[in-house]
Point group: C2
Chain length 215, copies 2
């Protein structure tokens, strides 16, 4: 297909595709004339993955390029590819997935205690660890007595959530396609999962405190 059709089918503007080509995120098409090239389904799929990393995971173009290269290098190992997509595995020099320094020593002791209590096998590099410790610190700064043990029931529900998540991508065999889908579902579903919690909270509050449901 021509670049215009690639643009139409991916929803990515022409100029953006050309930018990705120049930056080497997207491999060049097969040249058919001095200023014309043919693209195929692999380009379309790669473009979707780029959009997932840049638009959904929020990586810079330079970071996305590193991640794509590392993913391609390990493409036969789905676990490795997923790890790189999520920023858990280092993707080469630099570490675009690493969370910014927040002045702590980086050990995140509360996340570590929680992971151990759950018996989870989780990399030290998983940026989610830092979010756990930071959230608990914030809550305590607001006088809410909350520690990692208070998160244990939620961790058990998260375990079941993750099983549903992985079920949804189980049947995808191509590791890069699997990674794209995993990034999309992990990050894009977040607002919906939190919205479900709020709907369920209202329902639960109605059940406990009575009160008519509002129209």
């Amino acid at each position: 297909m021509r670049i215009s059709e690639l643009s139409r089918r991916s929803g990515v503007p022409n100029a953006t595709i050309k930018y990705y080509l120049r930056e080497g995120l997207l491999p060049p098409g097969r040249a058919t004339a001095a200023t014309q090239a043919e693209y195929d389904e692999t380009h379309l799929r790669r473009l979707r993955l780029i959009r997932a990393l840049v638009g959904v995971r929020g990586l810079s173009v330079a970071s996305a390029k590193q991640v794509l290269e590392a993913m391609t290098e390990h493409r036969t190992d789905p676990h490795e590819v997923l790890g790189i997509a999520f920023g858990i595995r280092p993707s080469g020099s630099g570490d675009p997935g690493a969370a910014e320094d927040d002045g702590t020593d980086g050990t995140n002791p509360e996340a570590a205690a929680l992971v151990e209590a759950m018996g989870w096998s989780v990399s030290e590099h998983n940026p989610a660890r830092q979010i756990i410790d930071r959230t608990l610190r914030t809550l305590r700064s607001l006088d809410v007595a909350y520690d990692w043990q208070a998160l244990l029931p939620y961790a058990e529900l998260a375990e079941r959530t993750a099983r549903y998540d992985l079920d949804r991508i189980e049947s995808i065999t191509d590791p890069l396609e699997k990674a794209e889908r995993a990034v999309l579902l992990t990050f894009l579903l977040e607002p919906a999962l939190m919205a479900l919690r709020r709907l369920a909270q209202e329902n639960e509050s109605t059940a406990r405190h009575g009160g008519r449901a509002h129209p």
Copy 2:
């Protein structure tokens, strides 16, 4: 206590407290001299609630004032107060909790189908409905075939999450304090709950695809 101690104990800067006093969010203290006033524990608690609404729920000062007035008016009914705190119940003229118009007809049919299937009692005004429909539209625009039925297993987990959430504030009897805590826990816990999901995903991926855990 003097305003300086109120500032120290709440962590809210002196100037910000004076601003809340001028705007009528915080009731005046008891005047002890021409330029001096005494504040008490009710001021401290109200200040924490203001911070929860403005800093955590992200309301404007004007919206927070409306919400506070509506909450005070209904303070004997915890269900009503929680509904106002979350923006589910209208808080008077204007509707600071209402989600912005996104060009749809506002019926959110997928959220409605989900709520009905779950048998939930949830207000039409709950802004979380819109997030459900918007997320599903976004996923489909990226060629991920996902509808409200795919969210059902997650909704069941959300139901259990909400039970834990409400358990945590069950013992608080003062409705305004309960509302403050509910806003804090609902909004501040969100990143931690999503972080738990990511940790659990890595663990589940390791279990399914093998691969050594990274150091």
